[in-house]
Amino acid sequence: MSSHSALACEGLGASYEGYEIFRSLNCALATGVHALRGTNGIGKSTLLRLLAGAQAADAGRVWIDGIDLMQVPVQAKRRLSYVPDESPIYPFMTGEELLHFVSAAKCSRVDGAVDDLIGAFDLRRHLRTRFDAMSLGTRKKMMLCAAWIGAPRVLLLDEPGNGLDFASRHHLVRRLRELGRQSAILFTAHDDEFVSACGAEVIEMSSLIDPERSVPT
């Protein structure tokens, strides 16, 4: 499972303050767009954090493009991009500083695809704006642009459509469909319209937690 899927995990377990969120969770995703759906608090965001290496798992292993995230995190994370639901960026950082930071971390550069996305999101005038002076949607757009740096093989997005205006949302859908041809994209969303516009395969979180209880989609 691990070596053939773009994104895979095995026996993944997570808990918070002693409460178990899930255990022995397995999944294997090929290239394409996948939408993770489930009720509030079921652990969708936690799963994305674990898959992205933003949170240490209690148990289990994660493979990004066949590379073990726990064993060789640097190589695995070069192939991965993650966009959290809320912007965790320092308030004093500007948009360009974030993009520069991420491109340096990935030993990559801001290529045409990212440049196009910056243009499409109308972000050029915000490149030198501090994060604490940006609106919620602008912050989200900046984080999405950073996610496109380094042509990731795996893209993990937590509620990517939240806070975006109609035009930006439409453009994001188009870009997700394009990237989905060569990368595995997993995003959480409650918006069925957004999910179907992306042509995403729906994965129910409950069926990952309890494979016996598979819900038809």
């Binding site: 933003a54 640097v74 991965l80 990935k106 801001v110 030198r128």
Partner: protein
């Protein structure tokens, strides 16, 4: 250069990915350390602004010229810990006290040192291990600047006194052990601490060893002890954060369920203080220690006429210390203030509950302070109860300066406490 111009320049410019890996790592280190230091300055600056009174108090209490005296006294303590002429147990005690002091120094800075929620995002980026370690080490040096200045003075003192490299090396080893303890506490790598304690013991043994070879050997063993502890921690993979994920015991779980059902406000208050263990332990521990210290002082005075003023002044200082909990409880709720305002709660719901909670905390110091006098018949039960009640009234009144006094809260608090102390001493003396 406008944003567009900058962007064109950036796209065509020399990006780190096209240079050598070490150059990329250096660039990454520079970027990350700049961000982290900026965040550290911002967060620790806020901390200083919030608690500047403690720094003023420290300057006032430590004898000698302000600020300079703190460094000099800290340097003297560091130098004394490795100076010859003490028993191994005394060395061990002093070394452990320095470890504890440095851990207490770093604990309030842990939010500033953590890098904030940005580091959760940065954790998903392919940052080299060397870059991370370098940045963490730089931050730790920045956080320990006060200690390093004192250590520099201490090394100069030791060198001029003994002219022997052994004692300065011991001091450096002691600082290394203390930094290991700081790292262990910050990253919840508790497995490192036994190695540090063992290292302290070995260092203390080395300081009293007679044979030169054995002294140096024990010094190396002390460093090795802490290093092994750290390597074990790294290998066992107890990374930051995971150490906190532990199942809650049944007893705690039941207590939480009962409080959640019958006293949700009290549960919120208990969780608030439990969520800030360093601040809570420091504040409540100091108040209790002060009460015990006053008891000891009264015993030294053989319960003569100085007993009552001592007890009253101790009660006043304990009240000042515990009044800080009002701010802690209020600040914890500030994020949800607008939401709470929309709930159908009676007016003064939280102020009344906060006051009750802090008065409850004052119970233990009051018992410690008043029970010896009641048992010795120096104070009638009625007067003791009256004194305790007025002390509780003082603590309740202290909520106003603490909550509404802004940056003059300590000043107003001290004035109120001084007034109460004067009246109480006059009343009890009659």
């Amino acid at each position: 250069m406008g944003a567009d111009g900058w962007f064109r320049h950036w796209r065509t410019g020399n990006i780190s990915g096209y240079r050598g890996l070490s150059s990329a790592s250096r660039d990454m280190y520079r970027q990350l350390v700049r961000l982290r230091l900026r965040w550290y300055m911002r967060a620790s600056g806020n901390l200083v602004l919030k608690h500047w009174q403690w720094f003023v108090l420290a300057c006032a209490i430590v004898p000698g010229p302000p600020v300079v005296a703190i460094f000099r006294h800290a340097a003297s303590l560091l130098a004394a810990s490795v100076a010859p002429g003490m028993a191994p147990a005394q060395h061990f005690f002093m070394v452990t006290v320095i470890d504890v002091a440095l851990v207490l120094w770093i604990l309030p800075q842990r939010h500033a040192l953590s890098g904030g929620s940005f580091m959760h995002y940065a954790d998903t980026l392919p940052l080299q291990r060397g870059v991370r370690l370098g940045v963490e080490a730089t931050l730790l040096v920045a956080a320990n600047t006060v200690m390093l200045v004192s250590a520099g003075i201490a090394v100069a003192q030791i060198w001029s006194s003994f002219g022997d490299p052994y004692a300065p090396c011991c001091l450096l080893a002691l600082l290394g052990l203390a930094v290991s303890a700081q790292q262990a506490v910050l990253n919840h790598r508790w497995i490192v601490l036994p190695g540090v304690v063992l290292g302290n013991g070995v260092l203390a043994a080395g300081l009293t060893a007679q044979v030169a070879g054995a002294r140096w050997l024990l010094l190396v063993a002390a460093i090795a002890s802490a290093t092994i502890g750290m390597l074990v921690a790294v290998r066992s993979g107890r990374a930051r954060g995971t150490g906190r994920l532990r199942p809650r015991s049944d007893a705690v779980g039941s207590a939480v369920r009962i409080l959640a059902r019958h006293a949700p406000a009290l549960l919120a208050q208990c969780k608030t203080v439990a969520d800030r263990p360093a601040q809570t332990i420091l504040r409540f521990g100091t108040a209790t220690a002060l009460a015990f210290g006053a008891d000891r002082l009264m015993a030294i005075f053989q319960f003569d006429e100085r007993t009552f003023p001592t007890a009253i002044l101790a009660m006043a200082m304990v009240s000042l210390l515990l009044a800080g909990f009002y701010r802690m409880l209020r600040n914890a709720r500030s994020a949800m203030e607008s939401y709470l305002a929309a709930l159908p709660l009676p007016p003064n719901y939280w102020p009344i509950r906060d006051t009750k909670f802090v008065l409850l905390l004052n119970g233990l110091p009051l018992v410690i302070l008043l029970s010896p006098q009641i048992m010795r018949g120096l104070l009638s039960l009625l007067i003791a109860i009256a004194l305790a009640i007025t002390c509780q009234v003082l603590l309740a009144l202290l909520r106003w300066p603490v909550v509404y006094g802004g940056r003059r809260s300590l000043l107003y608090g001290v004035l109120l406490t001084a007034l109460w102390s004067g009246v109480a001493i006059a009343a009890v003396s009659r």
